[in-house]
């Protein structure tokens, strides 16, 4: 898996992360990880909380730096954050002083895109995430689900090479979360983006992904990889099919072992 893969979009090579405490004590958050994400893959990273999966995502985003190893995107080494890796965070990170439209146009403006083109792109993505009519609402006037839909539109409008998602639906209630999964999956099915999605929710991990990587408890490493061969387009009813149940049962076992070992620490 760690060899040079021609179709590989993102390759994570020997990436580990050790945090140094205030008194010099070291905490290993991430053991060396090798991982490849192919073009148009929807990969979910599934693991118990505190296992270092978010750390890995932040390293890919360039917001954190690996202690060893490196990350390549289209063969180029990552050495800082950039517009080619869009990110949606778990916390609500819309700029509170900008309305929905200007939040979505943030990256476009930063790039110096002409105003008319910004508006056109923005309108397209507003429609795509179903926020038409809310262009001039401020983030605080939106529900959590609507804020995250805006954040997704903001990341997609920039046309990143890969979309990184750090438990973006983690703070939402269950019903909203399920609808958001369907929305995101629908976008992916039509637009074919490369997505790396971190979650601790097993259903979520299976439903959207074509590949699930299971993380071990801290210090994190990739323990298992599992292909999800459910047919597209996926309907929410796929969650009650025997095939889905079988994958879920397997992942539940994997995760349970890790959660138990995490709890024992």
């Amino acid at each position: 898996m760690s060899g040079v893969d021609a179709a590989s979009k993102l390759s994570i090579r020997g990436v580990s992360r050790t945090f140094e405490g205030a008194r010099g004590q070291k905490t290993q958050a991430l053991l060396p990880v090798d991982f490849e994400v192919r073009e148009n893959d929807f990969v979910t990273i599934l693991g118990p909380s505190g296992c270092g999966k978010s750390t890995l995502l932040r390293i890919v985003a360039g917001l954190d730096f690996p202690s060893t190893g490196r990350v390549l995107l289209d063969g180029q080494a990552v050495d800082g954050p950039g517009a080619d890796r869009g990110m949606v965070f778990q916390s609500y990170t819309l700029f509170p002083w900008l309305d929905v439209e200007h939040n979505i146009r943030f990256g476009l403006r930063e790039r110096g895109m002409p105003e008319a083109e910004q508006k056109e792109r923005c309108a397209y993505f507003i429609a795509k995430v179903g926020l038409r009519g809310f262009e001039h609402h401020f983030p605080k006037q939106l529900s959590g689900g609507m804020q995250q839909r805006t954040a997704i539109a903001r990341a997609l409008a920039n046309d990143p090479k890969i979309l990184l998602m750090d438990e973006p639906f983690g703070a939402l209630d269950n019903q909203t979360r399920v609808l958001m999964q369907e929305l995101l999956l629908g976008i992916w099915e039509s637009a074919r983006k490369t997505v790396l999605f971190v979650t601790h929710d097993i259903d979520e991990a299976i439903f959207m992904a074509n590949r699930v990587a299971v993380f071990s408890a801290r210090p994190g490493r990739i323990k298992t990889e599992l292909a999800v061969d459910l047919a597209h387009p996926r309907h929410y009813r796929v969650k009650t099919t025997p095939q889905f149940m079988e994958i879920k049962a397997r992942l539940t076992e994997e995760i349970r072992a890790e959660s138990l070992s995490a709890a024992a620490h």
């Binding site: 990170t93 002083w97 990184l164």
Partner: protein, 284 residues
């Protein structure tokens, strides 16, 4: 229960007691809100009480008129101030000094504060000095400033400037430095560079806090201006007050103080409403 009646009567005047028992409103329970009308009336009531006590003490002969003028004398003196002594000019001078010194301080301090908040080396370089200067009392500089700048307008403006500039720098630096890290990270992943982060994340995010800082410091600037005018000045509200002291005219002194309070209140109110309009998003 002793303190409830004022509120109870106010509510009673507004609407006769309903026949159907409602949820009992406990006016004196902690954190229980008051209606806007009751709030307004209560606020005015204290001014009325205050003036009544003042009138009682002075007109009733409890206090010698040499030490404290009665409200009536004060009104008469105030009239004289405007008609005979050109007090409007004094007020104009004082207002111009406050705003002149304050705007000068803001123009210097806000960019510096933003630079300190955004860039840690700048902060490390300037913060100790600014913190030290913040504790230097502006009024203690007056003798030095008179020596350097004479007793003209420059000296007055400098007092306000020294009194305000260091406060604004530090408070702006803290506001900018307290920016939400997750917003900064989000901006980075959207392709912003350092310049973009400062201009499009740190500054807009801190703007309401900066405006609030300026409002607070403007209030302090009012206290410095009077001190500056008490010493070596030929115009201004503070100058009028020192003059009146020599003549034992307590009516004029009190009126001068009240005028300062009213102007302060008005400018504060204007500042607040401008902030509310400019930064509507932060009030949501």
């Amino acid at each position: 229960m002793a303190a409830t009646p004022p509120v109870a009567t106010l509510a009673g005047n507004a609407a006769p007691a309903p026949a159907v028992p409602q949820r009992r409103r406990r006016a004196m329970a902690p954190l229980e809100p008051v209606s806007p009308r009751a709030r307004w009336l209560l606020g005015v009531a204290f001014f009325v009480l205050f003036v009544a006590a003042w009138a009682g003490a002075t007109l009733g002969g409890l206090v010698s008129p040499t030490f404290l003028a009665s409200p009536l004398t004060m009104v008469k003196e105030a009239w004289l101030l405007f008609t005979e002594f050109g007090f409007l000019h004094d007020i104009g001078m004082t207002v111009w000094r406050v705003f002149g010194g304050f705007i000068l301080a803001a123009v210097v301090a806000v960019p510096l504060g933003i630079a300190m908040g955004a860039f840690k080396p700048v902060e490390a370089f300037l913060e100790p000095f600014v913190s030290f200067c913040r504790y230097l009392p502006a009024s203690a500089f007056i003798p030095l400033l008179i020596l350097w700048a004479g007793i003209g307008e420059t000296q007055k403006l400098l007092v306000i400037f020294i009194g305000s500039v260091f406060q604004i720098i530090l408070m702006v630096a803290v506001t900018v430095g307290g920016a939400r890290r997750d917003l900064v990270e989000a901006a980075y992943t959207l392709g912003a560079d350092s310049r973009g982060i400062v201009r499009r994340v740190l500054i807009p995010g801190a703007a309401p806090g900066i405006a609030e800082t300026l409002r607070l410091v403007l209030g302090w600037a009012w206290t410095y201006v009077i001190v500056a005018e008490l010493i070596g000045s030929s115009s201004g509200i503070g100058h009028m007050i020192t003059d009146s002291q020599a003549l034992l005219n307590t009516g004029q002194i009190i009126f001068g103080i009240i005028v300062i309070g009213v102007i302060g209140l008005v400018s504060d109110f204007v500042f607040k409403s401008v902030n509310r309009r400019l930064f509507a998003w932060s009030m949501l």
